[in-house]
Amino acid sequence: MRGSLAAALCLAFGVWLLPIPLPAHHGTAVYDTSKSLEMQGTVVAFNWVNPHASIEWEVKTEKGAPKHWIVELTSPGMLTRSGWHHDSLKPGDEVTIYFHPAKSGSRSGIFQRVVFADGRPDLIDPRVQ
């Protein structure tokens, strides 16, 4: 019990220490950071490239074909230092993705968190909370 409490405190302290760097290549002005959307769907691609990684996924609709969404993350380097890997998401993964949407209304945004349907631990972007 005491060990669990200590571990929880360590984890909380570690999360508090996580850096929240700003984007290097461009600002986030085109995203509405006052809003957070969540979209459940199936991962199509996890693009592990500079300047920013991105996740593409398809969201089922009641009628018609699934809608394709895409969100940008920080750079692979910053993700690596936050515990991500190039295969942290794979095509076919069932996920719920939380993100700030683009102000333009397009099906894009800036990533906040992914929750896996299979129970894997959530992953967050160290850049945008």
Partner: protein
């Protein structure tokens, strides 16, 4: 009974020996990691040691902004060149890049051709400083490249070949590393300012505490300025547990990123499709 006692002694001795081996290995690994990361400072700031991984802290954009207004030191041709720059690249304007503005959707914003020594140091990309008796190396994660600063007492060369990062020598003045650089080409912006191949850049690095590196900048250029400009202090934070990774700027990747993310986000193209980035 006697055999039980002997068994206990033997087992205990074995455990102690095993523990010593384990602890010795752990201590060696820990010590090596601490020395590599700079943790051997043990909470104190060692003089003349800037080694480790650093990255500019939040707020670096405003901290790095040049103190003087451009029209107070730029010669007419240089001011005209600055004014020809797109607003989003201007660091001297609040609505420009250093003021939190965005160049999203504009081709040049994600171009790989924007090489600037000061940006490589100041922007929020990790750098690693490695010191030898003769040279200090700055390794940049961005572009996976480096610059070197000679600290063996040599003077700046008289007529160096022009280059993007210039030629640098350094010396310690008390607790401050003073780095002087010349030999830049005229293709870059240094802290957002145009310059000629005559620019003389001075960087001053000071480590006020274990976790902080402070940088101030001064530059003079008799061909482009009427008087020097100054900037800083910019603060960089120490990251003892970080390693640099490869982060080349590849124009094809940038163009794909613009097509997939930037253009839809700013409403300059249709909804993102299922286009895959090249593997």
């Amino acid at each position: 009974m006697r055999s039980r006692i002997w068994s206990c002694i033997v087992v205990s001795g074995g455990l102690m020996a095993f523990s010593c081996v384990v602890f010795a290995q752990t201590d060696t690994k820990t010590a090596a990691k601490e020395i590599y990361s700079g943790k051997h400072h043990e909470g104190t700031v060692q003089s003349h040691d800037l080694s480790g991984v650093w990255m500019a802290s939040a707020g670096f954009e405003s901290a790095a902004r040049i103190h003087e207004a451009p029209n107070t030191f730029l010669q007419p041709w240089a001011l005209a060149k600055l004014n020809a720059e797109p607003i989003y690249l201007r660091k001297d304007l609040p609505e420009g890049h250093a003021g939190g503005g965005t160049g999203l959707g504009v081709v040049r914003d994600i171009s790989c051709s924007q090489i600037s020594l000061t940006d490589f140091i100041i922007k929020q990309k990790p750098i690693e400083i490695v010191q030898t008796p003769q040279r200090i190396f700055m390794f940049f994660e961005y572009e996976h490249t480096y610059r070197e600063i000679w600290i063996d007492g040599r003077e700046l060369p008289k007529d160096p070949d022009p280059s993007y990062f210039g030629t640098s020598v350094g010396r310690w003045e008390g607790d401050t590393l003073v780095v002087e650089s010349i030999g830049f080409n005229d293709k870059t912006l240094l802290d957002g300012m145009p310059h000629s191949d005559a620019i003389h850049l001075v960087e001053r690095y000071r480590r006020p505490d274990l976790d902080t590196l402070e940088l101030t900048l001064t530059a003079d250029d008799y061909k482009a300025y009427t008087r020097p400009w100054t900037a800083g202090p910019v603060r960089l934070a120490w990251h003892p547990d970080w390693n640099l990774v490869e982060a080349f700027c590849i124009q094809d990747d940038n163009s794909n990123f613009k097509k997939l993310i930037v253009d839809p986000a700013v409403g300059q193209s249709k909804q993102p499709g299922s286009t895959k980035l090249p593997k």
